[in-house]
Amino acid sequence: MTRYIVRRLLQMVLTFFGATFVVYALMFANQDDPYQVLAGDRVVSDSQRAALNAQYHLDKGFFTQYWYYVKGLLTGDFGTSLTGRRIGDMLAEAWPITIKLTLLAIVISAVVAIAAGVFSAVRRGGIFDHVTLVLTLVVLAMPIVVLAPVAQLIFGVKLGWFPVTVTRDANLYQLLLPALVLGTLVVATELRVTRSSVAENLRADYVRTARAKGLSTRRVVGVHVLRNSLIPVITLIGVDLGVLMSGAIVTEGVFNIPGVGFNLFRGIRTEDGPVVVGFVSVLVIVFLVVNLIVDLLYAVLDPRIRYE
């Protein structure tokens, strides 16, 4: 177990430097005028240039720049936006509601996906199975840019079931529609993975043993099969966080939720380079950390890995 954790940690350190390097290189490498990249179409004044120099050390060599950038990330200094706000403050303000939204989406999608996935696997070829398979196809085909505005239009504007926009101190009810939209992004794949994983495990030899032991179907499926089947599903939920982050940018934009995605969305729209780089970097770190946690959880769930 210790060896597994150490190896996984080392991997994460490598991926961290690799990923931040990629982000940074994509942003700045080989640019004729890095100031203009950060500032977009704006006219850059000399004082702004000086400020950007202080922040990004653009007058230094590339690796020095990268070094300062990583140092900033690790010490929690994410720089200042073109409008003069500290990005760290913006993040601190935006996090709570984004975490609420994402957690809600993860919980809703996981509960629906696992319940429906297990049910269609147990009743394979049944009506429920066929209907969910078609539904997952339809859901998979809905890009978030379609889903979010259409859901807002139908359930918020036309039917009036949910509030159309969300305030900063939103309650769960306000967040429900955006969370459903967000959860829809990942529910289909999670359901399909659950279904095929359960179906595969139902054919396993240990299921025959469990039945020979005189256990009820509920216990065979609910304990023996489920515990084995959840292993790939948990991993998938970790990977899905990346999808949810991407989805949150659009969803928060559409529903005016003042979270991390909304700030990033506005940063892109207003061409505020430091905001984009800062937020993207932080999201990448969160993604890496969550996937590390998921991998450790994986080891807890699968003893064959734990004792490797």
């Binding site: 992004l185 990942v186 095929s196 998938l236 966080l241 990346g242 993207v280």
Partner: protein, 311 residues
């Protein structure tokens, strides 16, 4: 935006995500034949194929479907209801929504197809090299794939698309195509790599090596034909994902812009007015969703056909 990793591993999770056809070892030639026979009998395949054909026709030859000029927008027509050549009415700039939706297929499809080709070539090369040479080549390339996967796709795309965009005059087609192509190859590479590793260890490949076949011949005559099935499935799904990704990037303002006509730009441009008139948002949305659906169905059908376990 769907995630390609999630989609392609949806039916076979875990380490064995891409178990290539076992049957391939016994009769390498008949696998493709079997798959094609299965495909021809699959309803899903035919529905998807017809949809894709219609969409491609739309992209190549839009005048078949409409005689209106999508660029002929008159503010006087703003939000006018359907009538005349405008089946779906007019949008906030007074453009013919039907014409723009038809013509929108062109850039959407172009970006997706070329980006998928780029991703395919990179994925094929990386996967082949990593799988065939193994050892340190595999270690380095696999780490590199991990790093690219360590950045969520859209976040990387946002940064990259900004990077490629030449301001003012550019419609962004090139920038978006390059962005999606350079980021989308990882799953293809992984699938290729594991397929090659499985194929490499088959007896008949060992036999060919014993008989003195060089690495080039081994790769292209013996290994590649058997690794190609799962690889094609990934590319088909990637097409659908790229179409959705282009729309998302355009919506965010880092994709197609300016004079470009695409479903994504239509949705983004008309988004703020969706409460006034829904049509200009809803119609391109439907076309977009149906196109993505067609490619996902195609990928599903092809995967089923290539999967010996399902026979």
């Amino acid at each position: 935006m769907s995630d390609i990793n999630a989609v392609t591993t949806a039916e076979a999770p875990g380490p064995a995500a891409t178990r290539p056809a076992d049957a391939s070892s016994a009769k390498p030639r008949s696998l493709a034949g079997d798959a094609w026979r299965d495909l021809r009998r699959s309803k899903v395949f035919w529905i998807a194929a017809v949809l894709v054909a219609v969409i491609l026709l739309m992209a190549v030859w839009p005048t078949l479907f409409t005689s209106a000029d999508p660029a002929n927008c008159q503010l006087a027509n703003r939000h006018h209801p359907a009538g005349g050549g405008a089946l779906f009415g007019y949008d906030f700039q007074g453009c013919n929504v039907y014409a723009r939706t038809i013509y929108g297929a062109r850039d959407s499809i172009f970006v997706a197809v070329v980006a998928t080709l780029i991703a395919g070539v990179i994925g094929l090369t990386v996967g082949l090299v990593a799988g065939f040479y193994g050892r340190w080549a595999d270690a380095v390339l696999s780490r590199f794939i991990d790093i690219v996967l360590g950045v969520p796709f859209l976040l990387a795309a946002i940064v990259l698309a900004r990077r490629f965009t030449v301001h003012e005059t550019d419609t962004g087609v090139l920038a978006v195509t390059l962005t999606l192509g350079l980021l989308g190859w990882t799953t293809a590479a992984r699938v290729m790599r594991s397929a090659v590793i499985t194929a490499r260890n088959q007896d008949y490949v060992t036999a060919a090596r014993m008989l003195g076949a060089g690495p080039g011949r081994l790769m292209f005559r013996h290994i590649l034909p058997n690794a190609v099935g799962p690889f094609l499935v990934v590319l088909t799904l990637l097409l659908g994902i790229n179409i959705a990704a282009e729309a998302t990037l355009s919506y965010l303002g880092v994709g197609l812009q300016g004079d470009a006509i695409s479903w994504g730009t239509s949705i983004a441009g008309n988004g703020p007015y969706v409460r006034v008139v829904a049509g200009p948002v809803v119609w391109p949305s439907i076309f977009l969703a149906v196109t993505v659906l067609a490619f996902i169905m195609l990928g599903d059908a092809v995967r089923d056909a290539f999967d010996p376990k399902r026979r």
